[in-house]
Symmetry: C2
Subunit: 83 residues, 2 copies
């Protein structure tokens, strides 16, 4: 079976996010001072071949831990759907 995973990798809440801070403070320059607290991370989509959803979930978790996410600074979450 083929699954599609949608993965979000975000800076941990306890850490500063300088890129997000820069964007937040620029919102007022474009007339959008109502927008605050921007945080920026990564969004990834991938396809995975697995015999069932549990195996797909295990593989995606392994990919996140080994390659896609630096768990010292980032956290990840994902959703799986059949493709």
């Amino acid at each position: 079976m083929n699954f599609k995973a949608e993965i979000d990798v975000m800076p941990l809440p306890a850490l500063l996010d300088p890129q997000g801070k820069a964007v937040s403070s620029n919102m007022k320059n474009i007339g959008l001072e109502e927008i605050t607290n921007v945080r920026i991370g990564k969004h990834m989509t991938l396809f995975i071949d697995a015999k069932d959803a549990a195996q797909a979930e295990a593989k995606v978790t392994e990919a996140c831990q080994k390659l896609l996410c630096n768990e010292i600074m980032e956290g990840f979450s994902f959703t799986l759907e059949e493709a």
Copy 2:
């Protein structure tokens, strides 16, 4: 009212994504050859003060078009929830 927006900005499907390609081809080096077609974009969260959901949606769309997304190369989608 205060809303939280979750925004995904992804490279357009018609365009090559070299970062995603590099990650895809590295999956087999870490024993995850079942994973293919990785595409990498940005995930952003922000808070917005607006009088209702429709106004919040309009503001987030404006922020995406003006600052967060380069619509020549990227597309965006977002969800809103009350914070």
